[in-house]
């Protein structure tokens, strides 16, 4: 049986403010990373910042992605603030 879920990970300020490091969500048909962000933002409270707050970067399966990038069952999707290493 194939895995019908997505793993969603959060890092840095988002991880702290959402109080969440990782979620497992059911995979929806024809879903994009942007759809997933909008769905999570509807949880309200600190989650609303995913759409109305500071910029959120997206990675799918550990490669940078855009809101229009499709997400599929088994994918690892990550949301995080703009990076500040170096």
């Amino acid at each position: 049986m194939t895995n019908q879920t997505l793993t969603v990970r959060f890092f840095a300020r988002l991880r702290e403010e959402l109080g969440t490091e990782q979620l497992t969500l059911p995979a929806e048909k024809d879903q994009t990373a942007g759809d997933l962000l909008a769905e999570l933002a509807r949880r309200g409270g600190p989650w609303a910042q995913l759409q109305s707050g500071q910029p959120v970067m997206i990675a799918i399966n550990q490669a940078m992605a855009k809101p229009a990038t499709p997400v599929r069952a088994g994918d690892e999707v990550a949301f995080f603030p703009p990076v500040t290493g170096g």
Partner: protein, 154 residues
């Protein structure tokens, strides 16, 4: 070679390892970044570095491949520390071996600039007043973008 580690590194031995890259190498450029005391908040005592394990290595590996496509790169070494770091500690090392200095300088600077805006690391400043996530600087984004638009082509 890429290392993401909490331990400090010895830039002298990293340089010696880069020298061992064949008779064609005529130039080695290295960059070392330190934790400094003039960030977004006052009286910073240190930093906490978080990263996205796996993706970090993939992104940096892609940057080294991109640098090798654009310039003569015979060997490259990137070390980035994570976890808790005190002021003046070493945080990042980039070293590049090339036939000539122009390629070594450019590839080293490109890898460092692109790492700052694309590798998934996040800095949190620690001070007496508490903790503060550092925000991405427009000047860093501009430096990264300049390599894409061709403004920094040798």
């Amino acid at each position: 070679m890429i290392s993401i580690q909490s331990e400090d590194f010895d830039s002298g031995s990293e340089y010696e390892a880069l020298r061992d890259s064949g008779a064609g190498t005529g130039a080695i450029a290295t960059f070392t970044g330190l934790v400094r005391d003039s960030g977004d908040t006052q009286n910073v005592s240190g930093l906490f570095l978080e990263h996205y394990p796996g993706m970090t290595e993939q992104v940096i590996s892609g940057l080294i491949k991109e640098a090798s496509r654009r310039w003569d790169v015979r060997k490259a070494r990137v070390i980035h520390r994570v976890g808790r770091l005190l002021l003046q500690e070493q945080i990042v090392f980039v070293g590049v071996c090339s036939a000539h200095r122009g390629d070594a300088f450019a590839a080293c600077e490109f890898i460092m600039d692109a790492l700052k805006t694309s590798a998934p690391f996040w800095k949190k400043e620690l001070s007496e007043a508490g903790e503060h996530w550092v925000e991405q600087k427009a000047s860093d984004v501009a430096r990264g973008d300049a390599w894409d638009t061709g403004d920094r082509q040798p």
